[in-house]
């Protein structure tokens, strides 16, 4: 302790820690060195005519010595004698090796014993290995016989008196952790969400209301021209509600137009030519996409005359009843952007996507033909991933079908372009998280939330701090 505090003062002393090992006898070991091993004592206690085993066991070294003496083949037991088992000597004399070895150690000559012998004695708890630590202390470069205590921090008194000039200050220990300040934290997914909101606002997009997790099949599917027999409307993919099971309030004149378009066609379309059922459209569900909110927004836009172009966005929760795995949960967040205006083209959609993704730091884009029930043309958006050295899908997009827009009452030459992507995927890539359960839900490790850095979407992250790269 004294040496350590001297060392803390700086170059006052130089101390070298040396340690040596030494073998010593335990208390039991001492006893045996004096009196002889238990097995030897047992041996010597047996007279030529032998001794009843029960009597032997009552002797002080009896129990311990008996089994050892047996295994050394110094004694034997005759179980056939009339009055109980009797112990006899098997040899005439014995060499008490154990006592001899212990005496060597006591005499400071432990090195004369082999490794195996020492370890055996240690197993029997007769020997222990002691470590002796010593400090060799010598004068340091700043040796002095007077001690001046090192300061840790500057104080107001030192500043006003100027005494800081004459005091030594303790150097910083950069390997100490330091005390973390008590602070609050924002969730990384929601930090990314804030950034996406900023991007949309910068591009002039207005936020749509999406505060309804519950939606009717009508707005979620039918209004989007998704047919009632479509597999996505299966129980396997969608969460339907037991209570309340049906949506009671639907705009009936609009519903009639949608019904006609599905079953008979119209507005330039052949339609699907099947029997459309109102009951099916009334079924309540947990929305499978926020496109249902976009449909509501467009329906309200159509009511305003004359038509005013609009740009809408939303980022909110959606629900899918699919197979869950490392990258899929039943709940996730969808980002959606919509532009409604006269004369919009596929080229415009690509242009808007380019600006949007540039704000995410993604500049190399390619577009691939795709299929969605409610958009035509449809495009999947791909970007080049430098790390994986391949093109990966970053979003889905398209022009809404006329069968969706015209029954709403939007003018015929108004086109609506739209695109969407999930919020979780770019977040997991940005924050180097491989399993979505480590990001969303109550099982998330709060340390991850405490440690997650600033969200800068348009800047490449440094090397990932945890595990494998995304």
């Amino acid at each position: 302790g004294a040496v350590k505090s001297l060392q803390a003062l700086g170059e006052v002393v130089e101390a070298e820690l040396r340690s040596t090992k030494r073998w010593e006898l335990t208390a039991e070991g001492e006893e045996i060195a004096r009196e002889g091993s238990h097995e030897a004592r047992v041996f010597h206690n047996i007279p030529p005519e032998g001794l009843a085993q029960s009597e032997l066991m009552r002797l002080p070294s009896g129990k311990v010595g008996f089994s050892k003496a047996m295994s050394n083949k110094w004694i034997r037991v005759d179980k056939s004698t009339a009055d109980g088992p009797r112990v006899f000597r098997m040899v005439d004399s014995v060499e008490d090796e154990v006592q001899r070895r212990l005496q060597l150690v006591r005499g400071g000559q432990a090195e004369k014993l082999g490794e195996k012998e020492r370890s055996e004695l240690r197993k029997r708890k007769l020997l222990t290995e002691m470590t002796l630590k010593t400090y060799w202390v010598s004068k340091g470069s700043a040796f002095s016989t007077s001690i001046s205590k090192q300061e840790t921090d500057l104080s107001p008194e030192m500043i006003s008196s100027g005494s800081w000039r004459d005091r030594p200050f303790k150097p910083y220990n950069f390997s100490a952790h330091g005390i973390l300040p008590d602070c609050g934290h924002l969730h990384p997914l929601l930090k990314v969400r804030s950034q996406f909101r900023q991007i949309f606002l910068e591009m002039g997009f207005t936020e749509m209301p999406t505060d309804n997790f519950i939606e009717s099949s009508f707005w979620n599917f039918d209004a989007l021209f998704q047919p009632q027999q479509h597999p996505a409307r299966d129980q396997h993919d969608t969460f339907f509600l037991k209570d309340p099971a049906e949506a009671l309030q639907l705009p009936m004149d609009y519903v009639q137009r949608v019904k006609r378009t599905h079953s008979q066609g119209g507005y330039g379309s052949q339609g699907y030519k099947y029997t459309w059922k109102l009951d099916e459209a009334r079924k309540n569900l947990l929305r499978t996409h926020t496109t249902s909110s976009s449909a509501r927004a467009l329906y309200h836009l159509a009511k305003k005359k004359p038509f005013m172009p609009a740009k809408y966005f939303s980022i909110d929760r959606v629900f899918r009843n699919e197979t869950l795995d490392a990258t899929h949960l039943a709940e996730f967040h969808q980002i959606e952007g919509v532009v409604a205006d006269h004369g919009l083209t596929l080229g415009h959609l690509m242009g808007v996507l380019r600006e949007f993704f540039t704000k995410l730091g993604i500049t190399q884009l390619r577009f691939k033909p795709a299929y969605n029930p409610y958009t035509e043309p449809s495009m999947e958006v791909f970007s080049y991933h430098q790390g994986l050295k391949k093109w990966v899908e970053v979003g889905n997009s398209g022009l809404f079908r006329p069968e969706m827009l015209l029954p709403m009452g939007l003018p015929e030459n108004v086109s609506v372009i739209a695109w969407g992507l999930s919020l979780e995927r770019p977040t997991m890539i940005k924050y180097g998280i491989n399993n979505i359960r480590e990001l969303v839900g109550h099982k998330v490790n709060l340390q991850m939330v405490y440690d997650s850095p600033l969200c800068r979407l348009d800047v490449e992250p440094g090397p990932p701090r945890t595990q494998e790269a995304a």
């Binding site: 008590d182 609050g184 934290h185 969730h187 929601l190 909101r197 606002l201 591009m203 002039g204 997009f205 207005t206 936020e207 505060d211 997790f213 519950i214 027999q229 339907f240 509600l241 037991k242 209570d243 507005y267 330039g268 052949q270 339609g271 699907y272 030519k273 099947y274 947990l286 172009p309 740009k311 629900f319 009843n321 709940e331 532009v339 004369g343 919009l344 083209t345 596929l346 080229g347 415009h348 690509m350 808007v352 600006e355 390619r366 691939k368 033909p369 795709a370 035509e376 043309p377 495009m379 022009l399 079908r401 006329p402 086109s415 372009i417 109550h442 490790n445 709060l446 939330v449 405490y450």
Partner: protein
């Protein structure tokens, strides 16, 4: 997305050239397909059942190609090859014709008993067809793919294909009591009644999924020929008597179902794909179907529809400037044969029976864009001028979040779905009092209800983070789903309060009741606050 598995070399042979994997991948990207996986039968078995079972399996290279869900004409090798060859202008799209037979026309008579169970049926004949093992496999596989997709797992339409030479028309499609139906089904060695079959197939991994379609009905659909031979009991199984083999020369195809439009589309699809192998290529023999009301139809329809599209409309919607002639060429490459007519601005587009997916001009416009090449289109920005507005609730939430974090609380994001227990029992409340929204058929308890309060989510987060140093201060600002306002006593008596702002009750705060704490598997005292922020907007 449906996946089609084709033998790579067979594909290249049909395409007339070989591709590297990268080249083919690129071709798929252009056309709107995806080369999902390159594998072999051996690899597939190896992955699923281990290397030992895979011994001796074929290692012929297979391409697994993802196809858009609405393109039934690309669901088999024949269709894929045709689509790609026309796209690359190596062949012209075939013209399909329905022809009358030399002798008597095959007839399928529908009786009124089918009306309540499976009212519609259509039929056609492929005459003098030449199958090879590969073509035969492809034929069977296409039926499976159609069953899984457009047929909605046989509920909407079921397909039956039969060796016409083993049968004798006219055919009758009727519905009978299960005990009255007896026949030897495909791959069985003796006859069974329909009741027995329903039992047997309960353990058949493939067929058990379709039994429910007719199981509980009083009458089952069944098709007979004029000699009383049963062709099939749709949608379950065909008869063994009329099964087709590689040597079959004349195929009788019947599609029955509950959706007339889809039945017609499915029939057209099968015959257009496989009439390629008929002696009189791309012709299909007509069949007459008589409905219970006496009305007679001839199938397959194989209708070609004409639609007029203005060239400038296509240019405008895509954002390109092609001449009408060029646009017509682009469309023809997508199997939509087109030509410029009239004033030079109109394009007459012929929509073949293989393109049932084309419903509106926008479908035609998409095809023009694909043929032009999406990545050749110039990117432009719309001139749409708008002022952005934030949703007041979200704007307020963002401000509140920042200040909550500044106060030293950590934000969490919990699930909106949870168990009934979480929002009721564990909070000392009866579930009926919560007025929660209930999910039907939840897979696990975690999906029973939508949360009516944010509290359980926060408490579960605490329970999952027991090892973290104290204090733990959590917050969440998000939506809950309630049908009505809920009442509850989750708090320790005398240690809670209702919060009023501007005379309105907006929430509660307090120390949680020990019962609530233990039910969430926590040990430390816990206090919470929950308010509705909407009144502040």
């Amino acid at each position: 997305m449906p996946t089609v598995s084709v033998k790579r070399d067979l594909l290249f042979q049909a395409l007339g050239r070989a591709y590297t994997d990268e080249e083919f991948d690129e071709l798929c990207f252009e056309f709107g397909l995806e080369l999902d996986e390159i594998t072999s039968e051996k690899e597939i078995i190896s992955k699923e059942q281990g290397n030992v079972k895979a011994e001796g399996a074929s290692d012929v290279v297979l391409y697994k190609i993802d196809v858009p869900a609405n393109r039934y004409d690309l669901l088999c090798l024949e269709g894929l090859v045709r689509g790609l060859q026309v796209f690359k202008e190596r062949i012209k799209a075939p013209v399909f014709k329905r022809v009358m037979p030399d002798g008597e026309i095959q007839k399928l008579i529908i009786t009124e008993e089918t009306a309540k169970i499976r009212p519609f049926a259509v039929a056609a004949v492929l005459r003098n067809i030449k199958f090879t093992k590969d073509r035969y496999d492809s034929f069977i596989e296409l039926q499976e793919k159609l069953h899984q997709n457009i047929c909605r797992r046989r509920a909407l339409v079921a397909i039956g294909t039969h060796d016409l030479d083993s049968l004798s028309g006219p055919f009758t499609y009727t519905a009978k009591r299960p005990s009255d139906i007896k026949f030897k089904p495909l791959n069985k060695t003796k006859e069974y009644t329909a009741c027995e079959l329903m039992n047997i197939y309960k353990t058949d991994n493939h067929l058990k999924h379709y039994l429910h379609i007719i199981e509980n009905k009083p009458l089952y659909p069944v098709i007979y020929d004029s000699n009383g031979v049963i062709l099939s009991m749709p949608p379950i199984i065909n008869g063994d008597h009329s099964k087709i083999t590689v040597n079959t020369k004349n195929v009788f195809i019947e599609c029955t179902g509950t959706d007339f439009t889809k039945a017609k589309v499915v029939l057209d699809n099968i015959v257009t794909m496989f009439s390629e192998y008929c002696e009189n290529q791309f012709t299909v023999e007509a069949t007459e179907v008589v409905f219970p009301n006496g009305k007679s139809y001839t199938f397959p329809e194989l209708s070609y529809r004409k639609e007029m599209v203005r060239a400038d409309l296509i240019n405008k919607k895509v954002g390109i400037r092609e001449t009408p002639e060029n646009l017509a060429k682009l469309l023809t490459r997508m199997c939509l044969k087109s030509e410029v007519i009239g004033d030079g601005n109109q394009i007459e587009v012929e929509i073949p029976p293989t393109r049932a997916d084309v419903m509106h001009a926008c479908d035609i416009i998409e095809d023009a864009a694909i043929a032009y090449g999406y990545n050749n289109i110039q990117m432009t920005l719309p001139k749409t001028y708008t002022i952005a507005n934030q949703l007041p609730l979200n704007k307020f939430t963002e401000l509140l979040r920042l200040d909550m974090a500044a106060t030293g609380f950590t934000e969490v994001l919990t699930f909106a779905l949870c168990s009934q227990e979480d929002i009721a029992d564990k909070l000392g409340v009866d579930i009926s009092a919560t007025k929660a929204v209930h999910i039907s058929n939840p897979k696990t308890a975690e999906f029973q209800v939508a949360r009516t309060t944010l509290l359980p989510g926060l408490l579960k987060t605490l329970a999952a983070n027991r090892k973290m140093p104290l204090p733990l201060k959590l917050f969440e600002i998000s939506d809950v789903v309630i049908k009505d306002s809920s009442k509850g006593s989750a708090f320790f008596p005398g240690r809670c309060a209702e919060i009023f702002a501007r005379g309105q009750s907006i929430g509660k705060l307090g120390v949680l009741h020990p019962d609530v704490i233990t039910k969430f598997e926590l040990t430390m005292p816990c206090s919470s606050l929950e308010i509705n922020i909407e009144p502040f907007l």
